[in-house]
């Protein structure tokens, strides 16, 4: 029994806890942060599995860059997700249960953890291990496989990344329309001049009561700063 098995079980338990919190939460900011936590735990787990390269990537991409990107995407949308009615949750639940059952069914074909005769440890993988030292003369077999033996695959990956970037640039533009953008979140038209950050935004809860005298720009209370402009206040302005 490997000594890290308790560590692995601990990491997986933490992953389950984080995943359930992500499902339960409504605040998108907290969800994005928890996704970063999830990636970081994954990265730690990969290190314990001796997959340092993967851990590296997961920590940098999953916990670092994608968290920031998700935050940026969240700012373009709402801060809270709306609860989904129960009646619409049975379909997804069915899909998840079926997929889970399929995975358990496939579990029998998986090699045992650390099996020396698993598919990854026999056939061509062993050839790479044996021949890298004499053919490529570099100690890191992962780099040899990625860049040389499987150079085609890596070229494909690079092109995929490039196309992803190209797609985003074609859709959004590198400068975000050079600051001349118009957006209508929640039906409120905002632009650079009348941007949400350009003035204090009133909240639905803290919006002036009907009995009060309506002020043109009601100063938001400190509590009010969490959410975005709603339709109600937007129509007024």
């Amino acid at each position: 029994m490997p000594s890290t098995i308790l560590l692995d079980i601990g990491f997986m338990a933490m992953l389950v806890v984080v995943a359930f919190s992500i499902i339960r939460l409504r605040s998108l900011f907290a969800i994005v942060m928890l996704q970063g936590v999830y990636s970081l735990i994954c990265a730690a787990w990969f290190v314990s599995l001796d997959a340092v390269d993967v851990a590296f990537t997961e920590a940098a991409v999953g916990a670092g860059v994608s968290t920031v990107l998700m935050l940026a995407a969240m700012l373009l949308a709402d801060r809270d997700s709306k609860p989904v009615p129960m009646s619409r949750q049975f379909g997804p639940l069915l899909v998840v249960i079926l997929a889970g059952l399929a995975m358990f069914y496939a579990l029998g074909d998986m090699p045992a953890y650390g099996d020396a005769h698993s598919a990854a440890n026999s056939y061509v993988g062993m050839d790479y291990m044996a021949k890298t030292a004499e053919e490529i003369h570099i100690p890191n077999v992962v780099t040899a496989v990625l860049a040389s033996y499987r150079g085609y695959d890596t070229f494909g990956e690079t092109v995929v990344i490039f196309s992803a970037g190209l797609g985003v640039l074609l859709l959004l533009g590198l400068n975000g329309n050079a600051g001349k953008w118009r957006a209508q979140p929640n039906g409120v038209r905002i632009s650079k001049a009348s941007a949400p950050a350009a003035r204090k935004r009133p909240m639905p809860k803290d919006a002036p009561q009907p009995t009060q005298k309506p002020t043109p720009k009601p100063a938001a209370k400190p509590k009010a700063t969490r959410k975005r402009v709603t339709k109600k206040t937007g129509e007024k302005s």
Binding site: A60, I136, I138, N140, K192
Partner: protein
Amino acid sequence: MTPHVILRVVSKFLIPLIAMFAFYVQFHGDFGPGGGFQAGVILAASVILYALIFGLAEAKKAIPPSWVRIGMTLGVLLYGGTGVMTWLLGGEFLNYGVFSPEHPSHGQHWGILLVELGVLLAVASVMVAIFYAFGSRQPDLTEEDW
């Protein structure tokens, strides 16, 4: 942005180190874990951290969007171009051995270096480009908006 003195000072100290670490990961990839992809993401993370702390406009002054656009293209072209070079030298596509016929392993080193450089350029540029694209679409938020 002005109140975060500690954040600004610490990140000003850390950002060059992060960028340097990216290049260490890049050029040490033959010997330890890492390579072009990881290095590119780390390099992009240093730019993104700079943008988060000092604002997007400052980051765009440091790394102009045009560089990013050229970088992502250049990265893919460098990778593909290495393959075409091996073709022209009489080998198969991406068979780096032909770079140095007497010592194929040296040619492999050259090829891996070029290819990883292409990956670094492409990945770092694309990450920064996506961040610029998303980040430019909303005005800078005030402290309370978070």
